[in-house]
């Protein structure tokens, strides 16, 4: 690339080059790679101290019988992991967590894609509705859960009042009871997190070239065919990321189930793996075992993510 330089500037530069005395050797300069490394060093140190160290420390203490608050600890090799293999509560919590995660992800995707398709159409009040749809995602979890617990209350809740009034049930449904609490948790979670899907999918929908739909129409494709053969393939890459992120977040979700189970005997029925991990660490005060559970959770997620990447990237060429 050439630059336009004035004659006066060229003259000044030549004079300054002549004025530099020859020292016999070049002045010391750090190699470019070293300068680059030094510049990113603070960020590396921050990452190592705030991310890698806690993770490695977590793995390390998973080999100990360690109280959560007292300093005493005993190295017990793989005993914590062996205990987990034989602990029915652990496997029950894995099962509950899987049911919760899979159901919520599926429903979030279906509802989120549906809402995004709707919000991508032109109709009066579309912008206002787009704002409202995002609302559940920005409401603090504690507020969302309190409101939902009130709505779902079996004796004073609005939902029971309405379905009883409509004659749909004779007796109020105990949404927080044994048979319904998982369903209630899934409903609350889907309501809370489907806007994330809406945002991602809607953004992608707005970038799909209109010509593709025009071509499909010319080929005689109806609305369903246009969705299946034009929209869905275009959404693949964004859905790939959304499913990955939401799976990780829902499988490790703690706050919503925890707030839902405060008090009440049906707690057991939504005791997912993150909840049980927390209980082991801060109620049983078994930091070693809690860490072992966190490590298992991490490995399971990492394994699932790798598998997901391999299958999808190969099949869909993403």
């Amino acid at each position: 690339m050439s630059r336009c330089v004035s004659p006066a500037h060229r003259e000044r530069r030549a004079r300054s080059e002549r004025a530099v005395p020859s020292m016999g050797s070049e002045p010391f300069r750090l190699p470019e790679a070293a300068v680059g490394f030094l510049l990113i060093l603070p960020a590396i140190l921050l990452l190592l101290s705030l991310t890698l160290y806690p993770v490695l420390y977590g793995v390390w203490i998973s080999f100990f019988n360690k109280h959560s608050f007292f300093p005493q600890q005993t190295f017990i090799w793989l005993d914590n992991y062996i205990f987990l293999l034989r602990d029915p509560e652990f496997w029950a919590s894995v099962w509950r967590g899987t049911v919760y995660a899979l159901s919520t992800i599926m429903l979030q995707i279906v509802l989120g894609v549906g809402a995004a398709l709707l919000l991508n159409e032109l109709f009066p009040g579309r912008n206002i509705l787009r704002g409202i749809v995002i609302f559940p995602y920005v409401v603090p979890t504690v507020v969302a859960v309190i409101v939902w617990k009130w709505l779902l209350n079996s004796r004073f809740g609005l939902i029971n009042y309405l379905i009883e009034k409509a004659g749909l049930v004779d007796q109020p449904i105990s949404f927080m009871g044994k048979d319904w609490i998982m369903v209630s948790l899934i409903i609350v979670s889907v309501w809370q997190f489907f806007p994330f899907v809406v945002i991602g999918v809607l953004a992608r929908l707005q970038t799909i070239p209109e010509e593709l739909y025009d071509a499909a129409k010319v080929d005689g494709g109806n609305a369903w065919q246009r969705f299946v053969y034009v929209t869905l393939p275009q959404l693949k890459s964004v859905l790939f990321v959304i499913v990955l992120l939401r799976s990780i977040w829902m499988f490790t979700k703690f706050d919503t189930p925890w707030l839902m189970i405060q008090g009440g005997g049906a707690e057991t029925y939504i005791r997912t793996l993150p909840i049980y991990t927390y209980m082991r660490t801060f109620a049983y005060y078994e930091a070693g075992l809690g860490s072992a559970m966190a490590v298992v959770m991490f490995l399971a997620l990492a394994g699932a993510a790798v598998l997901y990447f391999r299958i999808w990237r190969r099949e869909e060429n993403l």
């Binding site: 109280h67 004796r155 044994k178 008090g263 005997g265 707690e267 049983y284 005060y285 075992l289």
Partner: protein, 249 residues
């Protein structure tokens, strides 16, 4: 559960910290739970402590099995004013089990901790002495509704305390509580004998683990036989106490 096993003449752990959950006295307690739940409304298990009180003062339930002094505060706050008294919400005596002789009662504690490495320990002690002087403590007691029952005998006997409007309204409750304390039947959560306070430092872990609650739920919700639920709880508790070094072998 502590008060029920006490009411049935049993204990939760023996001297060597071995759980006593498969003991016949515990089985009887679980049978009592199973019987009791027959009279609970559908979906009762979805209600926590506050919701259960809500059902009571919201006039959806006629009685609740277990409540404490702080419940008076909730009733005062949310029930219609004319109902907020011990004439409407009366207290019954605690049950005694088939193998027991006297009731056991769980009391709320008012713990203060002075850490041995803390700075200004003397000042902290002076503060507590000041706080518990009758006049100062009365201020606290009369402004904190959950704090129905003062821990000092002098304030309990004081006319200033006795004449508080709220205390007058809940006199029946006060008398029942006083009766339990006079007979030394009130103990903190899961404490069956006073020696547990020093000899069983793991009781809070037991409480927090939810093992005891799971055992009851296995019986009343999953319809397990009490013996099976008790055996499962016994195993889990043994694992817990062994991992902490309280139980050998």
């Amino acid at each position: 559960m502590g008060e029920l096993i006490k009411s049935n003449g049993g204990a939760l752990f023996d001297k060597s910290n071995k759980p006593l959950f498969t003991d016949q006295k515990m089985i009887e307690v679980l049978e009592f739970w199973r019987e009791l739940v027959k009279y609970a409304p559908p979906g009762w298990e979805g209600d926590g402590y506050l919701q259960t009180f809500q059902n009571l003062y919201g006039q959806k339930a006629a009685m609740m099995f277990q409540g404490y002094g702080r419940g008076a505060g909730l009733i005062e706050k949310f029930a219609p004013k004319e109902m907020a008294n011990d004439k409407t919400f009366d207290v019954w005596s605690k049950p005694v089990g088939p193998s027991g002789k006297e009731p056991g009662v769980q009391v709320d504690e008012e713990p203060w901790m002075l850490f041995k490495d803390a700075k200004h320990q003397k000042e902290a002690i002076e503060f507590l002495k000041f706080f518990y002087q009758d006049d100062n403590y009365l201020e606290y007691v009369s402004t904190v509704p959950i704090h129905l029952f003062p821990i000092t005998k002098s304030l309990r006997a004081s006319p200033k305390y006795q004449n508080l409007e709220m205390i007058q309204r809940w006199k029946g409750w006060i008398e029942v509580q006083q009766g339990y304390l006079d007979k030394d039947q009130g103990k903190p959560t899961l404490v069956v004998d006073w020696s547990d306070m020093t000899e069983k430092p793991y009781l809070l872990e037991v409480l927090g683990s939810g093992i005891v609650r799971d055992m009851v739920m296995d019986v009343v919700l999953e319809k397990w036989e009490p013996k099976r639920a008790a055996e499962k709880a016994q195993r889990r508790l043994e694992d817990l106490l062994r991992s902490k070094g309280y139980l050998k072998g």
